[in-house]
């Protein structure tokens, strides 16, 4: 877990709470450069000012390859709530300061449940697990031998299970905008990953006709 904090905010209390809740936060003050380079399961952005602090930091996060699909929580001043609108696409959860410890605990639990990542940073969805630290993907604890692009594709989808990704979106996020191979590349790689998942799990990578792909719903 990474805490990005405006140094004037209540960092110490937040860190103490997180540790008591069983998390292992790494704190990075946002007046400090450069950005640290871990691959956290969750990022909490503690901010006093949405417009000049939370927004640019969140956009920068979403642009970073490694952090693009990591769940992001905003912890902002209640007075700034009306400025949330327009940034819904950036964040996954928010809380206002002063916050209650119970609410923080509950929201983080919910978020972990939704994004399916556990404290080791392993992202889970049904039988599928992805460990961004070791780059290993497994299904039913069987390790899949993916190529790098196949891995990146799964990583993108597992970051927001249930969300439908357009093929254009997948192409630009996984392969980059300058890739000339064309949209078929996405289809080809989806098929390759399905082959590796095997017949029992191939359905996890679901085609949404005319739109794109997503991870299929699984029952808990």
């Amino acid at each position: 877990m990474l805490v990005l904090a405006d140094p004037s905010g209540p960092i110490e209390r937040l860190v103490t709470d997180l540790v008591l809740l069983g998390y292992r936060p790494t704190v990075h003050a946002t007046d400090d450069t450069p950005m640290p380079d871990p691959m956290p399961a969750v990022v909490i952005l503690l901010s006093q000012d949405v417009r000049s602090h939370a927004l640019p930091w969140s956009e920068a996060l979403r642009r970073a390859d490694r952090l693009r699909s990591v769940p992001l929580v905003w912890l902002i001043d209640e007075a700034e709530l009306d400025r949330l609108s327009g940034s819904e696409h950036l964040i996954d959860e928010f809380l206002t300061t002063p916050y209650s410890t119970n609410e923080l605990a509950a929201r983080l639990t919910l978020l972990r449940h939704r994004s399916g990542s556990d404290d080791e940073g392993v992202m889970r969805h049904g039988a599928l697990g992805l460990n961004p630290l070791s780059y290993q993907v497994s299904v039913d604890d069987r390790v899949l031998d993916l190529t790098y692009m196949e891995y990146e594709l799964v990583k993108l989808l597992i970051g927001h299970p249930g969300r439908v990704y357009k093929r254009e979106e997948i192409l630009s996020q996984v392969w980059g905008y300058d890739y000339f191979g064309g949209m078929r590349t996405v289809d080809v790689h989806v098929r390759r990953v399905r082959a590796k998942l095997g017949q029992d799990h191939a359905w996890l990578l679901e085609t949404v006709r005319g739109v794109g792909y997503r991870l299929a719903q699984v029952r808990a």
Binding site: D65, R66, S134, Y135, Q136, V143, D145, L146, T147, Y148, M149, E150, Y151, R167, G176, F180, G181, G182, M183, R184, T185, V188, R191, R192, V193, R194, A195, K196, G198
Partner: protein, 442 residues
Amino acid sequence: MDHDEQDFVLRTVEEREIRFIRLWFTDVLGFLKSFAIPAEELSEALDEGVGFDGSAIDGFARVQEADMIAHPDPSTFQLLPWRPAAPAVARMFCDIRTPEGRLFEGDPRAVLRRQHARAAEMGFSFYVGTEIEFFLFADSTTPEPLDVGSYFDLTPLDVGSDFRQRVIAYLEQLGMPVKDSHHEVAASQHEVDLRHADALTMADSVMTFRLAVKEVAQELGVYATFMPKPIQGAFGSGMHTHMSLFEGDRNAFFDATDIHYLSKTARSFVAGLLRHAREISAVTNQWVNSYKRLVPGYEAPVYVCWGVRNRSAMVRIPLTKPGKESACRIEYRAPDPACNPYLAFALMLAAGLRGIEREYEIPPEAENDIYAMTDVERWGADIASLPESLPEALAEMERSELVREALGEHLFEWFIANKRAEWNEHRSYVTGLELERNLPRL
């Protein structure tokens, strides 16, 4: 991006306790070459490549320029499923460079990359699917069938179906989706169809496939061969190649208004293939034995023509189902599975692109049974034959400016010299048939 890719490879090697990484490349004739490096050297290999003596590889370099550098392509990093889980073994395909850092023009992968880049300049990406046929025999000394099955036969005691299942399991673990697999027409003959991918990936896949098939055969104590015509009087093995060009998300071969749903681009592409078929034949069918497959009577193409339903045609247009534009494609039926897939795909693409560039007109579709026509009728209908032998194909190739340009001077010259030598060996060999026919009478 590149950095992450390397990181991914290095972490996986650590995580899976891989001790050796096989570096693969392909010689001019399409034989897989491999050398292993220990895991500790991988990081340096990814950064700087690994030097080797190119003069030891057929067709690579003359002795005075023997130093070559193999650069592993991290996007092809893959664990080999037929090796034990621990210690696991992984492979990567390599691009070959000169010590100065230039792509070595004699590397088949570079040849295909060049054509890919040409297609990209014209706004196209090139996709290929293959149907690969092969035989299973008891060993490599005699072509003795293991079964007497035929097309789609389901035989209970068939080592073949066990075999195909195992092959497919490996291919799945390698991320090579299989479209279909079945027993073929001839006894002991099998076919596996690989789903389309970009041509470079498909050429890598064909190389991997041939090895996977040979590995499984060895596991089951049999022998697999991609020899084009191993059994006298039986069907040969082909590698029907399905091709399409995409412009972004759009299939450039599809046109809803055309009677066969074929766009002008597709028609010119086919026209290019037809016009240059004889010239590229020495590469798509590179062995003396290849031409024993290309004879009438065994569903192999003999005449240079195209057709929609006509299964004897050299270029077949599979029916496009409504709403399935993306599947619109053309099928080139001449190549055999003993070709070098990089060079074969590169030349098929070069021929098709030439057709598009110069707006070749497609000849009329061959609707009749061309085999039933007389030579004169075919001549009248302007239907040429594919070369009947390797030397005929070589003579065509040698005159071809298209093939020379696509292969590059180095590879072109070496290929012709090597194949001439093969032919010289064969033409001076007294065969069993000659003795049988001539000795009692002459």
